[in-house]
């Protein structure tokens, strides 16, 4: 992590709730993803950074500026922190139009400047036509963009996004994931983004902080954390056994053909930007079905000839390493492994359904 802009060490516990404790939390210039299962304390941390919750102990520091320090009873109220906050449900002001929402923070600016900056933000997010609409007249994706515009219009020094895509239906979410990445790149404002979706974390983050049971258990660059989880807890939440870079060869009827290593895979093309053919291909081990060679008819779109490289036992399961022209991992039960008579060097077929091949556009 380079150029640390925000550091935090604090504790917060709600009556009857679990204790949330972050130690040596750092956020850099790019997008820091706060990643973990629901209930792991991500939202509480984000709200504490925004100044909407007051921690019980510790400190939060932005550069040289102290935002919170229990020992000296220092606390900077949210309106003086100059952050852009986008909560999970967006909280658009229901009585104000899109333009009214976006311009809310600019009330002290001259009217002409305010109008110009609102217009600029609306144009940037392709919302010009909606300026006079009320929030309840917008689709989920449009609301999300309005919330983003409202948060960034006064050029905050830190952008806080809480599950920015979670309130959307799946096709919209996939489409906006790529778009959000592009927007955050353009903005170039330090951003902390909360998500429980590992594919979102991979797609959107430069750095990642993994949360588990109220603690930040690992932080580092996204490739580092995802390829080298520090402990079992992190491995379980980041668990995408196969991540490999690939190239989109063709998109037809909503399906993409992707070259990965020396193999070709079929995946859903939803959410893929048209102009980019570099992708991460992610496959979870439990989604890979292994079978012995032979004539196969199945609904799964991907039939890959594979060679068994080895395996390890995990209680009732076997984690099998395969060579499919790229390294692939499959998770089977012990009994299935016995029936297949697994042995190193055996030639088999791996089946993967197209929707279980996750493509994440590669923008790093």
């Amino acid at each position: 992590m380079n150029d640390v802009v925000l550091t935090a060490n604090f504790r917060k516990q709600f009556p009857g709730g679990p204790a949330i404790a972050v130690e040596n939390f750092r956020a850099g210039r790019g997008v820091t993803v706060l990643f973990g299962a629901s209930g792991s304390g991500k939202t509480t941390i984000l709200r504490s950074l925004a100044g909407l919750e007051i921690p019980d102990a510790g400190e939060i520091k932005w550069g040289d500026e102290m935002w919170f320090r229990k020992r000296e009873n220092q606390w900077r109220p949210p309106r003086q922190r100059h952050v852009g906050f986008v909560p999970q449900d967006y909280a658009l002001f229901p009585h104000l139009t899109v333009a009214g929402n976006v311009g809310y923070s600019l009330n002290e600016r001259p009217a002409a400047e305010r109008a110009a900056r609102v217009a600029e933000s609306l144009r940037w997010l392709e919302l010009e036509d909606l300026a006079r609409r009320l929030p309840h007249e917008l689709s989920g994706g449009q609301q999300q963009r309005v919330a983003l515009a409202r948060a960034v219009v006064r050029r905050p020094k830190l952008l806080l996004l809480d599950e920015p895509l979670a309130a959307l239906d799946t096709p919209t979410r996939l489409r906006l994931r790529g778009e959000l990445r592009r927007l955050l790149r353009q903005l170039d404002v330090p951003t902390i983004l909360v998500t429980h979706d590992r594919f979102e974390a991979l797609a959107l983050g430069d750095d990642v902080v993994v949360m588990h049971a109220g603690r930040n258990v690992q932080q580092g660059t996204v490739p580092d954390v995802f390829s080298r989880p520090a402990n079992l807890a992190v491995a379980e939440i980041t668990a995408v056994e196969t991540i490999h870079s690939g190239k989109v060869l063709a998109v037809r009827d909503g399906l993409a053909t992707v070259a990965v290593g020396s193999a070709q895979l079929t995946a859903l093309a939803e959410g893929l930007p048209d102009d980019r053919n570099e992708v991460y291909v992610c496959i979870r081990a439990e989604d890979v079905v292994l079978m012995r060679n032979g004539a196969v008819q199945s609904s799964a779109r991907n039939h890959l000839p594979v060679t068994v490289r080895g395996w390890s036992s995990e209680g009732p399961l076997l984690r099998v390493s395969l060579d499919a022209g790229f390294p692939l991992v499959a998770l089977l039960t012990q009994s299935a492994g016995k029936e297949l008579a697994l042995q190193a060097g055996a030639e088999m077929v791996a089946l993967i359904k197209a929707p279980q091949v996750h493509l994440i556009s590669f923008t790093r």
């Binding site: 100044g51 949210p78 906050f85 909280a91 002001f93 009330n107």
Partner: protein, 221 residues
């Protein structure tokens, strides 16, 4: 209806509207404090504000008479500082109506403020708004329907006020006599027709106020 009757109706409406000018600032402030803050003595203020709803109006009037009389704490101060007398003038009418209407307004406005999700206020703060701006641009507009409904209820209540008014303002024809007081006197003087006419006017105004208030509360999402 005679010219004097129309004048009476006009006077009563002006007094009720005037009382709203007292009810609004006090009522909005109290309702907001009750809805948004926890403080010592909150329960006491809650009870005090609601008291005129259950106390006999005559008792409320008696208390006001004591407070606003020339020898009372408030009345004495007003007399010394502004040479302004309250009791048995139109000002006493306004004060009595305001005291009786305040509880209804506070109840409605408090519920309306409580129904505004604090997430909007919090978000406004992250956008740099101070507490006054949050209140006037977020809380109050979002509670608008409830506050309007409360206003109409308070207005209707003020228009029907009898007991407290007659205690502090008496009944000086053309100066402190309001609709309900005039109805009472008409019956006492055997002018039944006049009493019924004035009663009809009261009923029409009250009906309209409550009807609109109900519509406002129902349409709230």
């Amino acid at each position: 209806m005679s010219g004097a009757d129309w004048q009476l109706v006009g006077f009563s409406l002006r007094m009720a509207l005037g009382s709203l000018l007292l009810v609004w600032p006090a009522g909005v402030a109290v309702a907001w404090w009750l809805a948004r803050k926890n403080w010592r003595g909150k329960a006491l203020v809650e009870t005090l504000v609601s008291l005129p709803l259950v106390l006999p109006p005559v008792v409320t009037g008696l208390v006001l008479l004591e407070l606003f009389g020339r020898r009372g704490p408030v009345g004495g101060w007003l007399h010394r500082t502004f040479n302004c007398d309250v009791v048995f003038t139109w000002r006493a009418v306004v004060v009595a109506l305001a005291a009786m209407a305040l509880p209804l307004f506070v109840r409605a406005a408090r519920t309306a403020f409580e129904e505004v999700d604090v997430k909007f206020e919090q978000l406004a703060r992250t956008l740099g708004a101070g507490e006054w701006r949050v209140f006037f641009t977020i809380t109050l507009p979002l509670a608008k329907r409830g506050v309007c409904a409360g206003t109409l209820l308070a207005f209707a209540r003020a228009l029907g006020e009898f007991g407290a008014t007659i205690m502090v303002a008496g009944s000086i024809p053309g100066r402190t006599t309001t609709l309900p007081v005039a109805i009472y006197q008409a019956v006492e003087n055997g002018e039944d027709a006049r009493a019924w006419t004035l009663a009809g006017v009261s009923a029409v105004i009250a009906f309209a106020a409550v009807f609109v208030s109900e519509q406002l509360q129902r349409r709230r999402k």
